[in-house]
Symmetry: C2
Amino acid sequence: MHQPSATPSAREVELLEAAYEYALTHGLAELSLRPLAKAIGSSPRVLLYLFGSKDGLVRALLARARTSELTLLAGFQADQGLPQVALRLWEWLSAPEHRALLTLWLEGYARSLVEPDGAWAGFARATVEDWLGVLTAAQPPDVRDTDNGRAQCTEILALLRGALIDLLATGDVARTSTAVQRRLA
Amino acid sequence: MHQPSATPSAREVELLEAAYEYALTHGLAELSLRPLAKAIGSSPRVLLYLFGSKDGLVRALLARARTSELTLLAGFQADQGLPQVALRLWEWLSAPEHRALLTLWLEGYARSLVEPDGAWAGFARATVEDWLGVLTAAQPPDVRDTDNGRAQCTEILALLRGALIDLLATGDVARTSTAVQRRLA
DNA sequence: CCTTTACTGAAACGACTGTTTCAGTAGACT
DNA sequence: AGTCTACTGAAACAGTCGTTTCAGTAAAGG
């Protein structure tokens, strides 16, 4: 046996990184051990040894995705006002090189709603709170933590994410960007 | 053999309806023939006979979902202005009894982005256009079909959908509804 | 009555799933 | 040298998957 430790080994983070790259292009829904292992130069045996189970691996992948999301969000900490932060967020969201990552994010989001238990538990809710946190931090302190302030953040979050899933489906950067900027200007 | 006909038989629509109910509570990602067949009082054999393949069944389910979406949207045809239509749409979206349907919708949406070929092809894009159509129809004719008009519809669509996926994850009707109404009032 | 059409049941096929068993190898520590 | 830890390969296990084969029933039309 082997419990995936709190301090992962070097090989573990190495394989997790490779698996993450793989998931970015292949999605999480159809992820299975043998093709993944072959693609990243490993074996199902090793993946199970390091992550305990497939659920453990998926959990690690989800955590990995959320980590890189959080470090990204940390870069947007509120020196400017809410609209500016939101606009810079949209710049990041609409960048073509982040398409795969965000599709993966949406997939995890949807999955965690369908299957609230198991590996996906709480992923959607967690990311709502992560993003709301960043937006809230960009608000002036006198508005923050009021009903009005939370509604404002929720609206901006909705705008960004709604425009994002529109963009992911249509690829229409011009239309979605105009819509976002139109509201935030 | 058996090609699923353009004019489905009585038994076919009956089973499709039952399968749709099943999908609403179990999701599409983990749908498999044997459990589904058992639950709706049928057999894998019959489902394959009627729908040709599992892909055919999923396609039929997706089409079924889109159909009921379209007949819903038809009920919101523009007698009032855009904000009123959007508010009534949000009323429908935030109703607790539609939670399962909308989760299914989001699942199909995400899946069609990850796997753009096969049964899911074009689902996400199609629903974007469906919704945008309704919102556009609610605009005054002089704004319609201008860049500005399309940006406005896109923004409202983003708001509604962003608030929807927030609601689906958190269940927080109060916060999300306030956010939507705050923008549309 | 006979044929055709629509549907159904039981069982099997091959491919794939996550996981386990057993057997190692390579390097670091004592 | 010997032991311990970390990791790995090959093969098998039991289960599920979509699909096919072969069989049969029941009703409708001529």
